[in-house]
Point group: C2
Chain length 252, copies 2
């Protein structure tokens, strides 16, 4: 019997942001693998095996999922957000690239989800209404010089910038260095928004400026959105502020 | 009574990609507004009013939705994909920016969805596994010189590039001009993927190279993904090709 591996995105947190397709795929799995925080969002059905792992060793988890599928099982590997954005889908194909025989007998699929920056943007207004980019600040994955170059070029291109993994205990200060680099190109009054734990009970949103951004609290559960020069704030009801980037760009 | 306006993303097409939150929001609306192709995906409940419009006049539609909400109704404005990405949410805040009184008495919300590039990427593998950007090629909305500058800087930054609205009947050739610009920076063997009508019965996926990309068929329902120098293809079962961008970037 031929096995299946589907890498599934569970969205940013709450069940109401899990697509019916993702939900159905998880329901029909024999084995569900994933980082323990994502696995904890799901309830196993009778006969299902759930296997939680820690947050590291993505390649080992991907290889294990491929091996289980090769044995004929229907395997689901869960990811937060969308599995293709800084997440497990790339780890699976990397494992196949290193050892092609892992994929010989299985059907691989990817099931998309709502990635964190979309949920973050929805709480802030429409900051991603015009051209934008997404950069992971984790320098476990790439040299800082590469991040610095990308930040500069993204700022010059007038992209709205979404930063994933902006800070962790091991690297609390890189986000401030990122703001310093962006400040050499973007104005101090550029809008910056911090969206933390969106969709969770401890969700918090902070809207500030590039000049004041280094004071904000920021961790691995935060998405940081840096406005383009066109990004604007408008007043909503009860003094609430909405941030949007106009669909039109005028001649410069 | 105070009204509500929620701008809701219906995802790329099929019902299985509409989040339960989006579905519930539409179900509870008094009035649902939107472009006729999106409205056609939904079935009105008893007592609901559906109002379909054409694809232009986004600002007029946004203003109408705000006015209906001001009259005390629960109004939903639907968008394809995610409402915050090149879509209706920015039009609503632009309308509020022009006429702040429109938002005085209403509660505005945005309900995120799966945007087209995520669904496209899921069919191709994990092309967005590393830093990426999204650019709309529609020059109804910005000067071509701005698009050209962004394409160059995005290529220099080694972003994977997602192009929305790559071609229409009115501008069939700009996408080829975009490939020409990118070819001055990226190698001819750079992977390019065309994902058309993802999730629909006429879905088609084409994986090719930058050198051969100008020959591909491309329209308003296509998302074009241009790989970074790190993006790779691997063989899956039955000669199928998967494209991914590794999570790690090595020192350059």
């Amino acid at each position: 019997m031929s096995g299946q591996l589907t890498i599934v995105g569970l969205g940013p947190g709450p069940a109401e942001w899990i697509t019916p397709a993702a939900d159905a795929t998880v329901s029909m799995a024999d084995v569900v693998l994933g980082y323990e925080r994502y696995i904890a969002r799901l309830a196993p059905r009778r006969g299902q095996i759930f296997e939680a792992s820690d947050n590291r060793e993505e390649l080992a988890r991907a290889t294990r999922a491929l091996e289980l599928a090769t044995s004929g099982k229907r395997v689901v590997l869960v990811s937060g957000g969308d599995p293709g954005v800084f997440a497990m889908a790339a780890a699976v194909f990397e494992a196949v690239d290193k050892k092609p025989a892992l994929a010989n007998d299985i059907d691989i699929r990817v099931e998309p989800g709502v990635t964190a920056m979309l949920a973050a943007a929805s709480r802030i207004g429409a900051p991603l209404g015009h051209d934008f980019c997404a950069i992971s600040l984790s320098d476990n994955l790439k040299p800082w010089a590469t991040i610095e170059k990308r930040l500069r070029l993204a700022a010059e291109a007038d992209f709205v910038i979404a930063l994933y993994n902006p800070a962790s205990k091991a690297r609390p200060d890189q986000i401030r260095e990122a703001f310093r680099i962006l400040s050499t190109i973007r104005a101090p009054e550029t809008i910056v928004a911090f969206a933390r734990a969106v969709g969770r009970s401890d969700e918090s949103i902070e809207i500030t400026t590039l000049a004041d951004a280094p004071e904000a609290i920021c961790d691995m559960r935060t998405v940081v959105l840096i406005g383009s020069p066109a990004t604007r704030a408008v007043q909503g009801r009860d003094g609430r502020k909405w941030v949007y980037t106009p669909r039109f760009a005028r001649d410069e």
